[in-house]
């Protein structure tokens, strides 16, 4: 009995090691990318992205007959997923030059798949009521005049600029230094923290200067005014320590895994073709956030009402 | 015939590097000084004694005098530092682990002050524990355990748990557990000091009855003099790890080896323990005595009526041989004084 068991376990170990150990992908169900089967979409944690994923996922399933697996992941982990074969596509990528360098240029496991059509705008904002009350506040040159308004318990006697989620690109500290603003950056640490602060700034009529971005569903609810910083010129943000200009507009793009692209399936083509406007995305985001719809419900509603927009995405011959 | 247990020059030193103490001049230091000099504590110092088969050997001493350590050294629950121990002629310190386990499983059992019962087992299973680990079958060990429970008077409590029993009953379980393996030697480490006086007396009676019935060799630790005197055939008195005196109860009370022992036995009613041997005197020349002599082993108290009623001194005999005489004059100091040493 004892002997038998030993033999059996030895055989098991042998059979496992004979083939040279288990690689990182072993044992996970990895249906070959691109075959009519499963498409693995990374879903990054913001609503705009969810809207993209909702609509693309819906079309993939309902119009092309794929199974869609959505994986809720932070950006960086989504990129890692290209390497491990667990992610086929990222649908809304904000810049991330460093990740592109690692995964597209060095590791060669991912490729770009074109713009989403959305423009990412990053900037500094104040609630609309402030812009109405202090019309000149929207020019950065006057910010020092109003620094006193923005003092908080965290800002060490200066005005507070509420910084963004650490996932996003920011030059805020450098900007404040180089534009000689009497402010300090308080790192909010999460999108929820900024949104709550922005909502309260509107509701309580409290001054707030904050880092924010569009497209974002909050703009469907409330109005904010953007501060004019020295205009962006190509290369003015080359040295992160010396930046003294506004953020560029980001062309939000799609990234897919190399394998997925090489298979050139209809799923890949649909993702490549996918392109819409900020308004489209904000609409779906509004369904999701403020109307309490599920991803499928929101996608269905939008798809039903915007056939002209999505028809061209469907690859010919499918 | 060899003794059941012999102990020779036994040392137990606690602390860092204990071996360096024994056999050097450090060994002669008093405990406190040794501790100050080396951080070692000599719990048992150069102890030797022998216990005969069927004997009740009591070890007595104040708290901290090393009694528990000594008794644990006998089966190496505490590893001695040096010295020889043999049980039934077999050297205990030379035993390997298996042999030692056999000794513990079959020949020597122990009863503990705080019982040491297994709270998660029923009374029956507690008693059967020793048999279980020997590999005895369930039915057989339960039968034996049941018998032991009857022997200690715990019929009907088999399925209760230790927690549900009184202290006295728990100690009976401890006793039954020790008896269950039918050992030749039973070690008791202050088994009754956690019990109240009435129960304690019950239990002492119980031990005496069992000793009479099953005839085991007992080593009994106590700090209670009365207990030592009632149970012990012989008593060893420990102080700071040293044996101060070994002797019968009479020896201790009648001829304490030093002030420590004397202090111990001071409050013992001498007339209850001593025999006539301790107060008799040589007959004066031509002295006439009562007709009826008294044996020398008579306890003084029992002789009081005879001696007081007698007009003449009473002759004391050892068998047929006259060894001395007693009279009221010799008797009275023994009756009133617990303190003064009586000349032997």
């Amino acid at each position: 009995m004892m002997r038998l068991r030993t033999v059996a376990s030895a055989a098991l170990i042998l059979s496992l090691t004979a083939c040279g150990g288990a690689t990182s992908g072993a044992g996970e169900s990895t249906p070959s990318a691109g075959a009519k089967g499963t498409v693995k979409l990374a879903v990054n944690p913001w609503v705009g992205y969810e809207s993209d994923a909702a609509v693309v996922g819906y079309l993939l399933e309902k119009k092309l007959g794929y199974t869609v697996e959505k994986k809720e992941l932070k950006e960086e982990i989504s990129w890692q997923g290209f390497e491990t074969g667990e992610v086929d596509a990222i649908l809304e990528n904000w810049g991330h030059a460093d990740l592109k360098k690692t995964y597209i240029e060095q590791k060669k496991v991912a490729v770009e798949a074109g713009s989403t059509g959305n423009t990412g705008v990053i900037g500094w904002y104040v609630p609309q009521w402030m812009a109405d009350q202090y019309p000149d506040i929207t020019d950065y040159k006057n910010l020092n005049k109003y620094a006193g308004l923005f003092k908080t318990s965290e800002s060490k006697g200066k005005g507070q600029l509420l910084g963004g989620d650490p996932s996003y690109v920011t030059n805020d500290v450098a900007l404040i230094n180089n534009l000689k603003l009497d402010y300090t950056v308080v790192f909010s640490g999460s999108e929820a923290a900024i949104i709550k602060a922005a909502q309260q700034a509107g509701a309580q009529k409290k001054p707030l200067l904050f880092y924010f971005y569009e497209p974002q569903w909050l703009f469907a609810q409330e109005k904010f005014a953007r501060i004019k910083l020295p205009p962006y010129t190509a290369g003015c943000d080359a040295d992160p320590k010396k930046v003294a200009c506004d953020y560029p507009d980001y062309d939000l793009d799609k990234i897919v895994s190399k394998k997925f692209a090489d298979a050139n399936s209809t799923a890949y083509q649909l993702i490549k073709n996918f392109k819409w406007t900020n308004d489209d995305q904000n609409l779906v985001s509004d369904y999701l956030t403020n109307q309490g719809m599920s991803a499928d419900q929101a996608a269905e509603k939008w798809v039903n009402e915007h056939e002209a927009t999505w028809k061209p995405w469907i690859p010919a011959g499918s | 015939m060899t003794s059941t247990i012999t102990v020779e020059h036994l040392w137990k030193v606690f602390g860092p590097k204990p071996e360096r103490v024994v056999g050097t001049e450090l060994a002669d230091l008093p405990r406190a000084e040794l501790r100050a000099r080396t951080g070692c504590l000599a719990a048992v110092r150069d102890v030797s004694f022998a216990v005969e088969a069927g004997e009740v050997f009591v070890v007595m001493g104040l708290s901290g005098s090393g009694k528990s350590t000594l008794v644990r050294c006998l089966t190496r629950l505490i590893e001695p530092t040096s010295g020889e121990i043999s049980i039934d002629g077999e050297a205990v310190r030379a035993m390997n682990a298996r042999r030692l386990r056999d000794l513990r499983r079959h020949r020597v059992a122990m009863v503990f002050q705080h019982f040491g019962l297994l709270p998660h087992r029923s009374v029956l299973d507690n008693v059967a524990y020793g048999l279980e680990i020997q590999g005895l079958g369930r039915a057989e060990r339960h039968r034996r355990a049941g018998e032991m429970l009857t022997l200690v008077g715990l019929d009907g409590h088999e399925n209760q748990y230790p927690e549900q029993l009184s202290g006295g009953m728990q100690q009976r379980v401890g006793l039954a557990r020790a008896l269950a393996i039918d050992p030749a030697v039973l070690l008791f480490d202050e088994p009754f000091s956690a019990l109240d006086p009435l129960i304690r007396r019950d239990m002492q009676t119980e031990v005496r009855r069992l000793h009479a019935e099953v005839g085991k060799t007992l080593v009994f630790i106590t700090h209670d003099l009365a207990e030592a005197l009632t149970l012990g055939d012989r008593i060893a008195v420990l102080r700071d790890g040293d044996v101060v005196q070994i002797g019968t109860p009479e020896d201790l009370v009648g001829a304490p080896a030093d002030d420590y022992v004397a202090d111990f036995v001071r409050d013992v009613p001498r007339s209850d323990v001593l025999t006539l041997r301790w107060i008799m005197r040589d007959p004066l020349d031509g002295e006439t005595c009562e007709d009826q002599p008294l044996p020398a082993t008579t306890v003084i108290r029992d002789a009081v009526p005879r001696i007081l009623r007698a007009k003449l001194p009473v002759q004391v005999v050892d068998g047929d041989r006259p060894v001395g005489v007693v009279d009221a004059d010799r008797l009275l100091p023994a009756l009133i004084s617990h303190h003064r040493q009586v000349p032997a």
């Binding site: 040279g20 072993a26 667990e86 318990s153 965290e154 | 501790r35 279980e132």
Partner: protein
Amino acid sequence: MTATATPPTIQPDGRVVAVAGEGAAPWRRGLTRRRVLWVVLIAATVGAYLGFRTGGAADSDDAAAFRFFTDVRNWVDENRDTSPLFLYGFNYLRLGVRLLVDAVQAGLYGLGFAGLVAAAGAVALVLAGWRTALVAVGGFLAFGFLGLWAESVDTLVLTTSAVLLAVVIGVPIGVLAARVNWVSAILRPVLDVMQIMPTFAYLAPMTLLFLIGEPAAVIATLIYAVPATIRITELGIREVSPTTVEAATALGSTSRQLLTKVRLPMARPTIVLAVNQTIMMALSMVVITALIDAPGLGQNIIRALERVNVGAAFDAGLAIVIMAVVLDRITTGAARRRPAAPARHQRPTAANGVERVGAGRRDRWRAAGGRNRWAVAAGTLVVVVVLAVLPISEDLPHFSFAVPVNELTGWIELHWYDGTEWVKNVVSAGLLDPLEGVLTSTPWWLFVLVVAGFGTMASGVRAAVIAALAAAGIAGLGLWQHAMQTLATVLVTIVLTMAVGIVLGVWSARHDWFAAGLRPVLDAAQTMPSFVYLLPALALFGASRFTAIVAGFVYAFPPVVRLVDRGLRDVPAAVVEAAVSAGSTPRQLLWKVQLPMARGGLLLAANQGIVMVLAMVVLGGLVGAGALGYDVVAGFSQREDFGKGLAAGFAIVLLGILLDRLTQGFHHAKGPR
């Protein structure tokens, strides 16, 4: 008895500690000398601070430590498909965990809705009695009513898998640690790291090793939860009465027999409580693992957070609370239900804040007899099987608290803001800023010296050296400023937590009605995922350190209250009676008898409080408290910040070790615990 006759004390590990034979007078002299030392030390500290304080240069973004960690990560990244360590190690580990998760999943889903509800009830009935069974059935039905059935089962699958692994791994290690002192000594810092190191700091590379999804989630959860299993098991084995072990040895038990027949059975109630604590820890971690696509309630909460929808998060949070309460009641019930539990097992223990005592039911249950219980078990098994086969679906009418919760929090956010902002400003300006100012302007070497000095006075040389090394280590990591900022926030949180915790604990120990009312509040506060109450806290206190303090407080005060309550209730009735009969007023009773005697419980509470507050530092990074918490969060979000994030994680661990060693002296130095 004279002072010279003090016996030496025997330490549990068999060391003899000789008591110096000082007379009464030198002892008193020693006391005053101590006092003088304290004064000198304080004066020297103040002097040195005034002489050497600095402007507090900001931490750089590029320290040697950061680069080192980044390199390690890159190495892993590059070698994970070639190095044998991964090919034969981690990858099989992952495959094994995957198998386990799949099996558990198949099992739980296989039972179906009705079957699983019935199974929960059956397990509760067998382990803990019918009352708990009702709670279990009600709780599991509630998952259906909340419309969160599938998510709840997913969470249960992950928790169960992680806890199974924790028990299989942790119990043997705990036993070993209890028996072999050097193992225990080596394990201690390792467990500290595992328990305090924020998951965020290693979650990203973790997915490289174990891939996205359940296995990585289970392993992350395991890392966080298994220290509790090990520590409490070790405690349980160490607490086994030595007399009993000796008695069994004297009967000739082998060491294996000692383990299986004496130590393990006697430590059983404590080991079950270890499982209980493991479950609680695991449940608080599975939410975070949603960030690497672990399925379950965590996903709902993360999604609700994105939408800033506190009501939606509340429903999922409530499901987690219910799951925690059900599992807690089952395991505490199981711990109690045993033939005999000596009182010692029901003392609060170091790693454990939530033991509860209740012997009444145990006896009745036992009276029911073993055989009877098997009949019950068999009966319920039949019911479970029948229900599992019947096609009953979980489509119950749905109740959601989302709308009322949103309305309520909306109203509160709107109307309380001025008040809460005032509180925040007062605490920040009056307490936090000055403290942070002093800490950040102290040069690191002075801080290390001060820690060494005060540490020696309070906890002895050994602990002081470790604490000072920890402080120096923080400086070495290149995160001094951030660590001091975090320390300031942590200290304020701990003070607040202890103050409120002790007051509530005292009340709860004195009034049973209060204790009964408080219990569900404590349960909820401890198990409700903090992400849920973060939103209203953010609204009321803004993105600030104070929000972090509030979150830390909510998380840490329940165990403090429980330990204080327990400590006070454990004061022997005889002592209380003696004090009352001597004419003590209730106040005198509290201050002169109960609180001093409950010192052990209070210290345990402080210790536990520190650990839990540190666990919330990262959350602080998400709500504007900046410093180490933010560094960790940033390291998780941006690849280039990984090194700094991991370094910050270690800095948090070192802070924990520092605080622990500085306070541990109070455990040993004065009087019994």
